[in-house]
């Protein structure tokens, strides 16, 4: 640097409040008069499971042999009222994602992989497809505000029913599927004109509030002669109260979806600014169940940014009975990958990303229906880029990896069953995570906000 430059006043100082991202946002708003709609979940930095670590066994506790001693991952959901609870081999399930947002090939791949590893998959806003029912050993059928394609025959052939109140990416908002993805088959399943911009209802049409929901759940139980577990899914906001109300309404299982949860199309302002992080929501949900003395009677599934085996282990240690994964599953299938595999060869997909104005690793353009790797599309050419066989193989590997990591950690903590992982196996690395998860800051016995510590 020359001495001349030292003497110059600073000519380029970026504003913190009006950084390049904010300037681009305002310019975009001024140019179009419309908010941005996109896929994926919250992108901003949030306290998450990476901020927690396990206290492995040592002298005070002894570990189990990593490859020799048994560590059970069996998971049973729906023991409260259902005559036929859902029994899974692993506590990692596939989250609800619609046929419409995803191609039929992808729905089939999810079902195949889930069945092979012994877990469940879930329908989405838009009804149940033959492909997913046939390929899924255990299929959870969602009952959403829109009721698109909702059919009592599908209720009867489902293994569990999930009443969806909200979603972590947009608690308080309804589904969206832009016209380019409303293909003739999607439109027919949803009783909509093909090609319209579909904006679903955000409230259920036939009930309002928890007392009504109790009657609605009773209707679904009567319809299925009390056989099938009934889940209630909420987007994470006032989670302590919402979980209590879900239990009051008669849920067998409560699903809590944090703000990192993905979406195929939602307003960015919603994704980034409404809802609370999964870590905080999970803590509140467990508090609610413990407060009602319903822990282990009503099962808890947590979702929203679960990516890895350690994430699963930490969620279970904090009190979840199972987790649900959406975005991670799509990435395992090839979402944001620079190529796709078709007819026995890899093909470069970067031009497809470029056409959307993005690049592999940054893409959140699910809403356009032009997924360069054939996942979030209804396009007849693009959807061929992911076959059920290839997708299922990758997803099975991903789920197996998560499960191996989960049992590795559980054994290291001396547990013969992953459900024996407990909160006191965890400590936090940051003050925020310590306060939200209510576990001590590592190396201390300090939990911010807890009196007397």
């Amino acid at each position: 640097m020359s001495s001349n430059e030292h003497s110059k006043p600073v000519a380029k100082e970026e504003s913190f409040g009006y950084d390049s991202k904010t300037i681009a946002y305002i310019r975009n708003a001024a140019a179009h008069g419309l908010y941005e709609i996109r896929g994926m979940g919250a992108k901003r930095a949030l306290p998450n499971f990476d901020d927690l670590v396990f206290l492995g066994a040592s002298l005070s506790r002894y570990p189990l042999e990593g490859y020799r001693e048994k560590c059970s991952t069996k998971t049973v959901l729906g023991t409260r009222f259902a005559k036929k609870p859902v029994e899974l081999d692993i506590p990692i399930t596939i989250a609800g994602m619609s046929f419409g947002s995803l191609s039929a090939n992808v729905k089939e791949a999810l079902g195949r992989a889930a069945s092979e590893v012994g877990t469940s998959t879930t329908t989405g806003d838009g009804g149940m497809t033959q492909e997913e029912r046939q390929s899924s050993k255990t299929l959870v059928y969602q009952c959403l505000p829109s009721r698109y394609g909702f059919n009592p025959d599908d209720v009867r052939r489902a293994d569990a029913i999930e009443v969806v109140i909200g979603q972590g990416a947009k608690p308080g908002g309804g589904g969206m599927l832009l016209g380019q993805k409303v293909s003739p088959r999607v439109a027919q399943m949803r009783t909509l004109p093909a090609g319209i911009d579909q904006r679903s209802a955000c409230r259920h049409p036939d009930w309002t509030g928890p007392d009504d929901l109790a009657i609605k759940i009773q209707e679904l139980r009567e319809l299925t002669d009390w056989e099938k577990p009934i889940y209630v899914k909420v987007g994470a906001t006032r989670t302590f109260n919402d979980v209590k109300l879900a239990v009051h309404s008669g849920a067998d299982v409560v699903v809590v979806d944090g703000m990192q949860g993905g979406t195929a199309a939602t307003q960015t302002c919603f994704i980034e600014h409404v809802g609370i992080p999964t870590l905080a929501a999970l803590r509140q949900a467990v508090d609610a169940l413990e407060d009602l003395d319903m822990k282990d009677k009503v099962q808890l599934i947590v979702s929203g940014g679960i990516r890895s085996g350690p994430d699963v282990a930490k969620a279970l240690a904090m009190g979840a009975d199972a987790v649900s994964i959406g975005q991670g599953v799509l990435i395992a299938l090839g979402c944001n990958h620079d190529s796709y595999f078709q007819n026995g060869a890899h093909h470069d997909a970067t031009a497809g990303y470029a056409a959307l104005g993005t690049a592999p690793g940054y893409c959140h353009h699910c809403h356009t229906g032009k997924c360069p790797v054939g996942i979030t599309t209804q396009d007849a050419v693009l959807e061929q880029r992911l076959t059920p066989e290839v997708g299922a193989r990758h997803l099975k590997n991903y789920l197996k990896t998560l499960n191996m990591e989960l049992t590795t950690i559980a054994r290291a903590c001396g547990k013969q069953n992953v459900h024996h992982l407990e909160r006191e196996d965890l400590v936090a690395l940051t003050l925020e995570a310590a306060a939200m998860a209510r576990v001590p800051l590592a190396g201390t016995n300090w939990i911010p906000g807890v009196a007397g510590m």
């Binding site: 179009h32 008069g33 909702f150 059919n151 009592p152 009783t191 049409p205 009390w226």
Partner: protein, 235 residues
């Protein structure tokens, strides 16, 4: 055994519904009479055979919900969500119906002899609703397909955010919802109203109780089908 009686003052609802789902079709029962319903919720939900169910008294929420091929007649009034998500068959309420009558129906015929509350026919996806009296506000909200005949008046925001469902109203409409508009009646519309009044058993010719020519047609202007920034949210 062609006919069975269930006294809900004596028998739990679960037994009635389990009978309707399994034993009734297996034993070829054609008619089930329910007495003392006393506003019980979820009476005769999930019928899946062409059976005739009579309810003598008032029913609670979701009576005849998700019906497929069955016939349910309520000799009394019905609570919220009567015949919700019906696929086929027929549900008739001899009295009044509460909120969300016929919500998200996919098929079949719902007849309400009296008035219906708020949000009648909300999210309608097919089938027909005939209301002998008036309907409350936000009826046919986001109705996607199917037909509604309203012999009385309609409340506020009728047909808000309508898709392809068509509504016929004889009386006054307090206000139309976003994107709903009154359209001229064609001969096909008159024929449709007559067909539905006939199917509902509501007299329309000799006694001139209802003349199809007195009805107005409400359908979607389809201006909300595609995103439009210039609408300025003036819906």
């Amino acid at each position: 055994m062609e006919r069975m009686n269930f006294d809900l003052a004596q028998v739990p609802l679960r037994e009635l519904n389990a009978f309707l789902h399994r034993d009734a079709p297996a034993q070829g029962v054609q008619k089930v009479v329910v007495t003392n319903p006393d506003g019980a919720h979820n009476i005769a939900v999930g019928l899946d055979c062409p059976i005739d169910v009579e309810v003598h008294g008032h029913a609670g929420y979701y009576a005849g919900g998700m019906n497929k091929t069955g016939t349910v007649t309520i000799f009394g009034s019905a609570g919220t969500g009567v015949a919700e998500n019906m696929m086929s068959g027929r549900v008739q309420v001899k009295g009044f119906a509460s909120n969300g009558a016929g919500a998200s129906m996919h098929g079949g015929l719902l007849v309400i002899d009296g008035d219906a509350g708020l949000r009648c026919g909300i999210s309608l996806k097919g089938g027909d609703i005939v209301v002998g009296g008036s309907v409350g506000s936000f009826s046919a909200f986001m109705a996607q397909a199917g037909r509604m005949v309203i012999c009385g008046d309609a409340g506020d925001a009728l047909g808000d955010s309508l898709y392809e469902a068509v509504l016929y109203v004889k009386g006054s409409i307090k206000s139309l919802g976003a994107d709903a508009r009154i359209e001229p009646m064609s001969e096909a519309d008159y024929a449709a109203v007559k067909e539905l009044l006939d199917a509902a058993g509501l007299q329309h010719d000799a006694g001139l109780k209802h003349d199809p020519r007195d009805f107005k047609r409400v359908a979607s202007a389809r201006s909300l089908y595609h995103w439009n920034a210039d609408a300025d949210q003036e819906y």
